[in-house]
């Protein structure tokens, strides 16, 4: 099947006073229609930068230095801004992390939801009806009344539901959810995840789900991409990743997940060492300094991407075929 989103060899650099920070390096990522792809990794590993690059919303000091981003067969890299705006909202939409700040506080929900339909020729009344229908779908009670309210009258969970409704309003082909539940408590998190799963039947697009929570990823994703310090280290179907993780980082990440620890322990396991400085990268494998299985070759040269099984690739010399 033709991929919906096809990222090849993408590198992004940030110009900072300390020098060039290589935030993303040689990223490969494919999202096929109708799939939910998870991106997992610790803070600062480049998850959000990757998502911003796909949305064309990179910060002013960021620069795409190599690679391509193809979306629906169209090249997004170096696309002029007006063409971007045509894609954003209609074909690509995004739900942000913090629902308390992602809605404009001084405009009613109705106005905001009508405003984002500005590319449609429908009448204001039809746009309002469509907005109300979506509010109902995401589980806002009494949407005809509530749509006239301002964001401060809604709780965090309800605001995230509204943000999801706004993102899906234009029926995008790809929904990007950037840690949509991180700012919510556990009960609401479960509700929002349930909602996203349920909405899969309402909307036939794909979802790119960014999270640092492995449990959530396991819950809703079809396949997972594991990122570390700006690189994709492993890509696999969800079951394969959890049952036979191939990259040492993924293996360590799974042993550190509190939900998977069965014995009673006084201290939680952690991965020793720290993430390397992205402005002064070490030669060789990015994870070599923290890797328990590193050998000479890991410190000498950077590993390529090796195929472990169908749809399962890993960037590690342990699986090298050369």
């Amino acid at each position: 099947m033709e991929p919906l989103l096809d990222i090849r060899d993408l590198s992004v650099e940030f110009a900072t006073p300390r020098g060039k920070v290589k935030a993303l390096r040689r990223i490969d990522l494919t999202v096929r229609p109708g799939r939910i792809v998870g991106i997992v990794g610790e803070s600062g590993c480049g998850k959000s930068t990757l998502v911003s690059a796909v949305m064309g919303l990179l910060a002013g000091n960021a620069q795409v230095t190599s690679g391509s981003i193809a979306f629906e067969g169209r090249q997004l890299r170096d696309l002029p801004e007006p063409a971007w705006r045509d894609i954003r909202g209609r074909r690509l939409a995004m739900v942000f992390q913090d629902p308390m700040t992602s809605l404009n506080p001084v405009i009613s929900i109705a106005t905001q939801m009508i405003d984002i339909q500005h590319r449609d020729d429908a009448s204001r009344g039809d746009k309002l009806k469509k907005a109300i229908a979506w509010l109902a779908k995401v589980g806002i009670a009494d949407p005809e009344q509530r749509i006239e309210d301002y964001p401060h009258r809604f709780s965090g969970g309800m605001r995230q539901r509204i943000a999801i409704a706004m993102a899906l309003l234009m029926n995008p082909a790809l929904l990007i959810a950037d840690e949509p539940t991180t700012a919510l408590d556990v009960t609401l998190e479960a509700q929002i995840i349930h909602l996203i799963k349920q909405l899969r039947s309402e909307f036939d697009g794909a979802i790119l789900f960014v999270s640092h929570n492995l449990g959530l990823i396991a819950e809703i994703c079809d396949e997972v991409v594991v990122m570390y310090a700006g690189e994709v280290v492993e890509h696999a179907e969800i079951r394969r990743l959890f049952h036979s993780p191939s990259h040492p980082y993924t293996q360590l990440l799974l042993t550190c997940d509190p939900a998977r620890i069965e014995s009673e322990e006084r201290t939680l396991p952690t991965i020793g060492g720290t993430v390397p400085d992205l402005a002064h990268l070490p030669g060789g494998c990015i994870f070599a300094a923290r890797c328990p299985e590193a050998f000479e070759r890991c410190r000498a040269e950077a590993p390529g991407t090796y195929r472990v099984a169908d749809g399962h690739s890993v960037r590690c010399f342990l699986h090298a075929d050369d």
Binding site: P82, R88, M94, T101, N104, V106, I116, E148, M166, A167
Partner: protein, 294 residues
């Protein structure tokens, strides 16, 4: 169902927010006083033609420097003109100048401030330099230069005030725009396909306009005093036109014999300034959600 649940379950229309502001305003005695003074001033300016007992330009050399009497409520000036009528018409000028100047500089500051805050870096630098140069130039020197060039008139006064106060609004709008453009809701709007114009007008403008209107209501008395000051110095409106500043200036020469002339020109100036200041401060408090009063 508890009362709190009941309160939450009843949907409140959006207009309630304005009712809350009005209620807070009226709960503040100084705010009520300010509002009363401003409303009275507006009524007297609008109905000056009916309120004035005499023609403010009518000269009556035989009736110069008269004391207040039933015919001339505030007496007459050195040309025999009725002071009460001149004060009423002066209020019209003061209000006209201040409202025009404030709304023009508000508009100018809004446009330039949003351009500086949202536009490219070089434009921001250029506009900030412009704002700072205008602010560093003494207003009175600027007024003198403008009057010398264009001649004293209402238009010159308004131009001077607008140019001098655009940076006040422009700076505030710029700072607000700079911080608003980094907020997640603006990013979210851009992620849903909004272009710069839509972001500025649909999202940044509604967030900026509230504080700006409060600033404007507090700028009105400043503008009225600037206009009076320029008129007092003879740089303002041309002589036959009655303004509070020119009434003060003319009366100033006769302050030993006929002090009511100065009082008649000065008292409305003080009252108006106080009225707008009280109203502006009360509005600021009423709109401030952090002052959580009933």
């Amino acid at each position: 169902m508890t009362t709190a649940d009941a309160a939450l379950a009843t949907p409140l229309p959006a207009e309630r927010a304005w009712l809350i502001v009005v209620r807070r305003l009226l709960a503040d005695p100084l705010g009520t006083l300010g509002l009363t003074i401003v409303v009275l001033l507006v009524i007297s300016a609008l109905s000056a033609d009916w309120l004035a007992t005499h023609d403010p330009f009518e000269l009556a050399p035989r009736q110069r420097m008269q004391d207040p009497s039933p015919d001339h409520w505030l007496g007459t000036d050195q040309l025999g003109r009725d002071v009460f009528s001149r004060v009423i018409y002066g209020g019209r000028i003061a209000l006209w100048v201040s409202l025009t100047a404030v709304s023009l500089s508000l508009f100018g500051g809004l446009v330039l401030g949003m351009l500086a805050g949202y536009g490219p870096r070089w434009l921001d630098n250029a506009l900030v330099l412009l704002f700072d140069s205008v602010r560093s130039f003494p207003t009175i020197m600027f007024a003198l230069a403008m009057v010398t060039l264009l001649g004293p008139s209402l238009g010159t006064i308004i131009t001077v005030i607008v140019v001098a106060s655009i940076p006040v609004y422009g700076r505030i709008v710029r700072i607000q725009t700079l911080s608003l453009k980094e907020t997640e809701f603006v990013l979210a709007e851009r992620a849903l396909g909004a272009g710069p114009i839509r972001v500025l007008f649909s999202h940044i403008l509604p967030n900026v306009i509230g504080p700006l209107l409060i600033l404007a209501s507090m700028e009105i008395p400043v503008v009225i005093t600037i206009e009076a000051g320029l008129s007092f110095l003879g740089l303002g409106v041309r002589p036959p036109t009655p303004t509070w500043g020119s009434i003060l200036q003319e009366g100033y020469q006769y302050i030993r014999d006929t002090p009511w002339l100065v009082i008649a020109g000065g008292l409305p100036l003080i009252l108006t300034t106080l009225g707008f200041t009280f109203l502006g401060e009360a509005l600021r408090d009423a709109f401030d959600p952090k002052l959580n009063r009933p």
